[in-house]
Each structure stands twice: as C-alpha cells, then as structure tokens.
C-alpha cells in the first residue's frame, strides 16, 4: 500500500472516530501488545485507543514493572512475548535499531512506535495526514523542521516521508543540533530561523530536552528561545498562511511561545486527533498480513 492510499484510509478512520459508534471489527479476536520501554503518554494511549476501536484486545506492558527491570535482555523479552501468540506488538525503545532487532525474533507484526533517535514512522504519517487535510496536498510545499534535529526520531521520519511525497524539506537548527553529514542526504540546512522559515508553508517545531539546554548543545533556554524559539516575529518570516506543528510534549517558552502554540496557525491539537486515525489505518492495513494460525 502506498503512502497516499494509507492516508486515504486514515481519512476514513477520522470519520469513524467522530461517530458515536466508533467500534469496528477489523481486529476482532486479535491481540495487540503495546511494549513501551520508554515512557510515553500520547503515543501509547493513541495506539491503545486505535487498537480498541478496531476491536483488538489491547494489553499495555508496563516495562517498569516487568522482567526487563530484572535484567532480561531485549531478545529474551521478545521470545517470551512471542510464545504468548500475540498478533501485533507495538514497540517503543530508547535505542536506535531495537525495534528492528525485536522484529527478527517474533512471528507477529511489529509496529515501530519510536526507536531512539532513529524513526517514529506513525508520527510522520500523522503529520503528513494533518498537512494534507489542511493544505489539500503535500507535493510542492516547503516544510521547515526546526530545533533539535540531532536527537529527533520525529525529524528523521518526517524528512524521509515528506520528501518521498514531494515536499521540500528544510532543516533549521544551531549547528550543534544538526546531524553531521545530513546535508549530503539532500536536505537544505539553515542555522538562522529567518533564512530557514522564509516562504515556508509548514513550520514544524521539535522538542528540546532539558538536559541539552544548559551549555552542552545550546548555551541556555534564554538564548535558545531568543534565536530558535518560534514566536510571532519568527513565524512572520514564513508564508502568511503558514501552519505550525509540534509533536509534543511542548516546552512553552523554550522552542515555542504560548501565543503561537495556541494561535490560529497552530495545528498542534489536530495532530493528536490525527494520531489515532493514522494508527487505526496502520493497524487496519496490517490486518491482512497478520498470522492466521
């Protein structure tokens, strides 16, 4: 299934989710395990709701209280869970490549819900869906991804996905937060918001984690907000009808000002709604590939 078809399917799920009766039966009788090695509120609940709306039995595995804490390796965890015959495992892990490793050891479908600084594919899909619904298209749009690109799986997935469907993707960040060599992958990089946001249709902000704010990658919150925080003035460098996105959770006053986050150009709340729809679409698309024992 190609990307646009998947987004079409997600559009249908939006309608389902807005009805009183949200239940479908696509995954009835199927078992979905949400295996989150890293704390997550919105992604985990989004996958849980998506699975339940499709009729699956959803189990959230609390890694904090599981055998992983007792020293079990990732592979042993995978083999153990596999023996319980799940149909889908949704995995979030702090190490890049961990989801790929786990997928090699199980017989069921595995969905990547974020692995280290590598990828977060459903986030990119929900961002694409949000853009497509608001702009009517993605092809030809200029998307500026701004902030901590170095540590961001959201940035990497969006770069790949949006470029694949025809957007012009720019990266805007201080040089300390731009992955070395990324320009060679064909993405235009900017170290000034003024240059990077010029004529942008979409301004996508990224979260800056606290431990990176105080002199290690950037000197301070004050300085970061002064030069890279999205406020009304910096947003004015983009097109007048530019739309603002953020994968959440936001640091207000660090990477984005409250008036922009809550302003008329913000799509941030809509992104959350699209998250459920996209995950329903992904799970439904997997249905025909699930093990049929």
């Amino acid at each position: 299934m190609d990307i646009q078809a998947l987004l079409d399917l997600a559009d249908e799920q939006v309608e389902v989710s807005r009805q009183v009766e949200k239940r479908k039966t696509t995954l009835r009788g199927r078992t979905q395990i949400n295996l989150f090695f890293e704390a997550s509120t919105r992604t985990q609940s989004s996958f849980e709701i998506a699975g339940k709306r499709l009729g699956a039995d959803v189990m959230n595995m609390q890694v904090g209280s599981s055998s992983v804490k007792k020293g079990e390796t990732l592979i042993d965890t995978a083999v153990t869970l596999n023996a319980m015959r799940p149909d889908i495992i949704v995995v979030r892990h702090h190490a890049a490549g961990a989801v790929h490793l786990l997928a090699q050891k199980v017989d069921c479908s595995v969905v990547n819900a974020g692995d280290g600084a590598h990828e977060h594919p459903t986030q990119a899909l929900l961002d694409a869906l949000t853009i497509r619904r608001n702009k009517g298209r993605i092809e030809g749009l200029t998307v500026a991804i701004c902030g901590d690109i170095l540590h961001s799986r959201v940035a990497r997935s969006n770069m790949i996905l949006l470029a694949a469907i025809g957007a012009r993707v720019r990266l805007v960040a201080p040089s300390t937060l731009i992955p070395p060599g990324i320009a060679r992958l064909g993405f235009e990089t900017f170290t000034s918001m003024k240059d990077g946001l010029k004529d942008a249709d979409i301004v996508m902000m990224l979260r800056l984690q606290r431990e990176r704010m105080n002199g290690s990658f950037v000197p301070s919150v004050k300085e970061y907000f002064r030069f890279y925080g999205l406020d009304q003035e910096k947003l004015s460098y983009a097109k007048p009808d530019a739309l603002v996105m953020h994968p959440g959770p936001m640091n207000r006053g660090v990477e984005i000002s409250s008036d922009v986050a809550d302003g008329a150009q913000s799509l941030i709340r809509e992104q959350v709604e699209m998250g459920v729809a996209v995950r329903m679409a992904v799970l439904e698309a997997l249905a025909s590939h699930l093990p049929n024992r």
Partner: protein, 430 residues
C-alpha cells in the same frame, strides 16, 4: 570642537594595510579620515598639526589586555587602562573576560561597553567568556553576548581542557560568525611549573613548563577547527613547534590565526635572572631559539598579531618568591617601543610590524580601523620611531607598575594619539 577638522601635515604616512609609505598629510573630520596623501587640500578652518616628519600610522589594536574592572579596580580601571593605552599609541583594546564577575552575562558586557564609553579615552571592546564562569564546562550565551557587544569569545587566561566543550563551542560559534580566542596551555601539563622547562629552570630550582603544554593543546584545537569549521585564534604562541603547527594549519586553508605577546618577541627566559617576578608570565618566557622562531614566524606571516598581554598585578601579588607570584606584566604603554626593537635590529620592516599591530587585528576582529585610507576611523598615532628613552616605571599611567621593561633602554615614542578624531594624548616634549 568635534566639528573642527584637523590636518596632520609633514608626516611620514604609513598605511600597513596597503604597505604604502609616503610623505604627506592626513585630514580628519567628524571622526573619520577624509583625505590622505602627498597633496591634501587644506581646509581653511582646520586645526593644523605639524608632525615634523614623524610617522603617522593607524592606532594600534591590542587583542589582549586584562583590566581589573569590575572586581579589581586597584589593579586597573577602564579609565587607567585607557590612559595607559593612549600613552602607548593603542587606540583599541580588547579586554579579557577574567573579571569579577566574569564577562559571561549580556548585562555585564553591556556594563563594560557603557562604562568604557563614559570613562575610557580609547575604544575598549570586551571579549566575553566562552564558557560560563570561565569554568570550561558549559558554553556561554554566544549569541546574546555578541548582541550585547562582545567582540570575541575566550576564557581569557584559562584553557578549555574539555575537547567536547571546545568542539561544540566552535560549532555553535560558527552560526553567529563569532571568533573564538583560546589560551593554549594545557593546565595538567603545566602542573606546578612556573617557567620554561629546561636547563635554566633546573639551575634556578624551579619547576618547568614543557613546550608540549602549548603544542598539545594547539594541535588539538586545530583538529577541532578542521572538524567544525569554526573561526579560531590562538591567543599567544611562544615556541618554535607552535609556529610549525600554525603554519601547517594555514597551509591547509583552515580558519586559524594566532598572536604572540610582545614579551615573547623581546625577552627570553634568561631575562628572569635573579627570580624577577615581573617576568613570570603565562605562557612562560622561552629559550632564545624560540624567541628567534617567533620573530621569523611574525616576519613570514605565520603569526598574525602582536598583543601586549597587558596584565596589571599589584605588589602584593608580585613581591613574593617566584613560584608564588602571580603571572603577568603590564604592556600597553611599552608595546610599540618594545616592538620597534625588531625594526631597529632589521628583523622586520616598519609597515610589516604595524600591520601586526593594527591591520591584522582589525581584520580578525572585523573592525574598520587598522588602515590609513579615506573613510577609515580617525584612530591615529604620530610617533618618532627613533626617540630614545629609559623606561621609568613610576612614569607609567597604568595603576600597576609590573613592567618587565623597567629601566630598559627603548627607542620609539608616541607623541600624539587620536581616537575617533579627538586627540587623547600628546607628549609634552613635542
């Protein structure tokens, strides 16, 4: 008063930026040079100063001076440093951030800029701290500090030992086109050392500082410059191996420049003699071979600038056993005279010397001065390169008198110093 034009006539004009030397005049109006050359149309209302055939050149730009304000006004204030600079022909001083509090906050930079404007007769351009509190751990707010008026970033007399911190600072500074100036001296290799390691230190019974304390740090930095592309200036080098390292880096096209202190061009470790603490410096005075290498590196352009490394210390910090005395020597007032020794001994031409004292620092710092051309700021000096004198430290304008040239015979004295079109110093003998 500021509107009255001033004509300097009968001068030996030296423009180190173009290597031009000719007899002529310079007309100054509203703080800028409006005419220069052999034939200058005389303005009827101009005040005329006859230079009597002396040299007229751009004011000196000193990239390294420690000033005690804020935190140590008994050692030096912005006012006294300005007076010392004016007497020495230095029209722009880059002040180091090693103050108390350190210059790591935009508000403190703003204070220095305003305070200097109100009290100092020369231009003072503060360099801000590269890391917070000069601690070498976390980079300072380079963008905001630059907006507040910081001209460069440095931890002053300290080296940043953590290579990761230096890497990120060079990377980050590049986005703001900020210059990083680094004191290259590995404190671990310095250890307890107080002077150049070698025969003389062993004879004096003093712990030595190997040249490698400098070369190891410098070599590391240059590799980080290659990795990051950041603009880098080694504050001072002192030994032959360092000159080789910089020469190789420049040959590779890296954005690297470096300085040398006047002390390392004029003195060597033997001048320490009987434990003279005014010659306890960081980096330490080296062997005569190193001094010769510094002069050669200056002449061939490997070394870009000469700095005074002006570091006022009161007697309480200097009248101590050598190893316990503070580092540093005053130098603003003797910078030109001491440097002229190289001209008098035919080691370097006068225009080339002035280039390292004005044009090059202006280029590195992005300042408009350092050249004798129409439109350049009227920061000018008139000096007699041959006027002989014996330095009497009591005559120094600096609040501290720790000069390594006390009682030395020097040749060459500034007679007039002009800053932004105003005569701020005029020697009485003229």
């Amino acid at each position: 008063m500021s509107n009255q034009p001033i004509l300097f006539k009968n001068a030996r004009l030296i423009d180190p930026a173009s290597d031009r030397e000719e007899h002529g005049a310079v007309l100054v109006r509203d703080g800028v040079i409006v005419a220069v050359g052999p034939q200058v149309a005389v303005d009827a209302d101009a005040q005329v100063i006859d230079c009597g055939g002396q040299v007229l050149a751009p004011g000196l730009i000193d990239m390294r001076a420690f000033i005690g304000e804020p935190g140590g006004p008994y050692r030096e204030t912005l006012k006294s440093a300005g007076e010392a600079a004016a007497a020495g022909g230095v029209t722009t001083v880059v002040s180091m951030p090693d103050t108390s509090p350190a210059l790591d906050d935009p508000a403190v930079i703003d204070f220095i800029v305003r305070r200097a404007r109100d009290t100092s007769m020369v231009n003072i351009r503060p360099a801000a701290a590269l890391t917070k509190g000069l601690q070498g751990d976390e980079m300072a707010e380079i963008g905001r500090l630059k907006e507040a008026g910081a001209i460069a970033f440095t931890d002053g007399a300290r080296s940043v030992t953590n290579a990761q911190v230096m890497r990120r600072a060079l990377t980050y500074a590049r986005d703001f086109d900020a210059l990083i100036i680094h004191h290259v001296e590995d404190p671990d290799l310095v250890g307890q050392g107080v002077m150049n390691e070698g025969e003389f230190a062993s004879r004096l019974g003093l712990p030595g500082i190997p040249r490698e304390a400098e070369t190891v740090m410098l070599e590391r930095d240059i590799r980080l410059v290659r990795l990051t592309g950041g603009r880098y200036h080694a504050a001072m080098i002192s030994c032959a191996d360092s000159a080789e390292i910089v020469r190789a880096a420049k040959a590779r096209g890296l954005p690297v420049t470096c300085g040398v202190s006047i002390n390392h061009l004029a003195l060597n470790e033997n001048d320490i003699g009987d434990y003279r603490t005014f010659l306890k410096l960081s980096p330490p005075l080296r062997h005569e071979d190193d001094r010769q290498a510094m002069i050669e590196a200056l002449a061939d352009g490997t070394i870009d600038v000469i700095v005074s490394d002006h570091n006022p210390q009161d007697v309480e910090n200097k009248r101590l056993p050598f190893a316990e005395a503070a580092d540093g020597a005053v130098g603003l007032e003797t910078l030109l005279s001491a440097a002229l020794r190289l001209v008098h001994s035919d080691r370097i031409s006068l225009p080339k010397l002035l280039r390292a004292l004005s044009t090059k620092p202006a280029e590195i710092l992005g300042l408009p001065g350092g050249r004798l051309t129409v439109g350049a700021p009227a920061d000018l000096i008139v000096f007699d390169p041959d006027a002989p004198y014996v330095l009497d430290k009591r005559q120094l304008k600096s609040l501290s008198k720790n000069s390594p040239f006390d009682e030395a015979r020097l040749e060459g004295q500034v007679t007039i110093t002009m800053v932004a079109g105003r005569v701020v110093f005029q020697r009485e003998t003229m």
